[in-house]
Amino acid sequence: MCFRIIYCCPRLHLQNQKMADNSGNAKPFVLASRPDDEKGIPYYGVDILKKHVNVVWYDDFLQNKEKYAQLIHGIILWVTAPRVDAALLDALPNLKVISNVGAGVNFLDLDLLASRGLNVCNTPRILNETTADMGMTLLLASARRLLEGDQMVRDPNVKWQINFCGRQVSGATLGIVGMGGIGYAVAQRAHAFRMNIFYHNRTRRPQTEEEAVGAQYCATLEELLSQCDFVIIVTPLTAETKGMFGKKQFELMKPSATIINIARGSIIDTEALLEALQNKTIAAAALDVTDPEPLPDHHPLSKLQNVTFTAHMGSATVQTRSNMMALAVQNLLDALSGKPLVNQVI
């Protein structure tokens, strides 16, 4: 196995770290949510945690605060759990680092955490390609009505129609809103489908990068929206991007357009989206994230034939989620041993 793979793979890097730990230092105590394949940390994540830290599960902690309170130096966050608030911070006097498994930290009160002198780390970049893969999956499946086709086949009462058609992806126009690492990875995939690409971003990318994927910059969102057959949201959730897509934005889009969201649910105003779909202001939507998440049972959006949903699975492959956990653990160990932090938010 070549040096580059050892250097780049967080898992292998961690194993080296583990050997260093075994030679001397005790494993740190770290708070985490719960081991649960569906609703908590799945087995592959638990395995990685247990190898490198002493895990204190949250329910355990609640039952035995006195035992653990002084010991806990770090928290591993998996899908926003456990919930970090002032009360929890008060109960953990020796807490030094909060390490998120995931890139987005919009759910954290960073001011509060900074005021307590805590480090916060995340796992950007490592999930870029898998998330971009999901973005393209949603775009393709929605455009070509894959799930409807699969359902038709299974319903003996439905007669096959020769003219059951979707919209062509090759040669269509894609607007990428937010051209960071994930957005650019989406552009690379869309370019291979000969899609005509426009993008909107806070900053413009260098010309060579634009040319590599044939992407044209739009200084305003409005300029982008009116030109695109498909619009994909790939921005982080911030004060500026919250509610960025509302009635006005949907009205600017083509009536034949599809909106795809692989970023955060509340970048889209859910009510406005529902109305836009019901009024045929736009044609379809594909959502890996919603607001709220999950949507309540029987929400009208989930009844629409022209909406494709996935359950926040952008990064959901064994390799990527394992890599994310390994990286989060690495970040945490680095923070605790005073090493320079690569993925530091604060």
Binding site: L146, C165, G166, R189
Partner: protein
Amino acid sequence: MGLEKLLTCPSIRAGEKYRASQEMASLEDKPMVLTSHVDELNAYPQIFVPVIKKYFRIVWWADFENDQERYANEIQGILVNGGLPKITSELLDTLPNLKIVSTLGVGTDHLDLQLLKSRGIKVSSVPDVSSDCVADWGMTLLVAAARKLPEAMKSATDTATPFNYNILGKKITGSTLGIVGLGRIGYRIAERALGFKMRVLYNDITRRPEKEAALSLEYYSSLDKLLPNCDFIITVVPLTPQTHGMMGREQFKLMKKSAIFINIARAPVVQQDELVEALQSRTIQAAVLDVTSPEPLPPHHPLLHMPNVIITPHMGANSLESRRGVVEAGCESCTAAIQGKAIPREVVL
């Protein structure tokens, strides 16, 4: 008030008659073709009728049957859509001025080519316009199976199923795709797979060195040697005696246990019962079939009841844009023959 309005005053009806007569005059210049019928679900949707009317005066089959004498001598071309109208020697007998049969699709299995050759009638098809569309579909099926899209959808929307963000798919980026058949569609699939940074291998009866070089593909002369290297395998071959049943028990055994198999070619390329066996015994991970034997499958067929199988109703070329392009291309071929010019997309008999 515009000039047009002035011309049609004083009566709106007079204006309509004027416009209709103008349209008739321009139509009279256009050659007459015979074709099937309009049906939004199963024949021409209404939106494609204007495409045909740009080139021809249309004689719909029902009108032709009712009044052959009126149209027979004027019909110079036939557009065949979805196998209709059926070209028989009896039909040809009634059309003395027929120059061409243009089929609006890739295949010519439904045409008696020898019959047409013997009558000196040209034939055209549309083998290439839908290539991008079908390649898109091949990739759509691949990614949907990889990321377990039906299961993901269910988790997100079905109230009986919990919202589970831990449903893990198979990584696409950096994985290996084996393309069986590097024709027009297979090549376009390779282009798209490379966008996902997949490693692309191919098997074909003919090696394609230029295509290989253009995309940095790896050639395998032996299908059996290709299969064990692949995370995804997609069959994109025409149905021939050589490809009939080419994917069977032995081939599925050679694939990785984690492999996903996709068929967008023709159903008989796969030994379907042996595929069922391979899926049931977890010899391979999952399959996606756009084509089955028969089409549709009977409701109790095992393939319809496996969680790791996606089946779609033969919709590889089903984009509005592609369909429109096929109709347009067919009309172009038909017109060229009628005008005695070189025929694009001619099927040489």
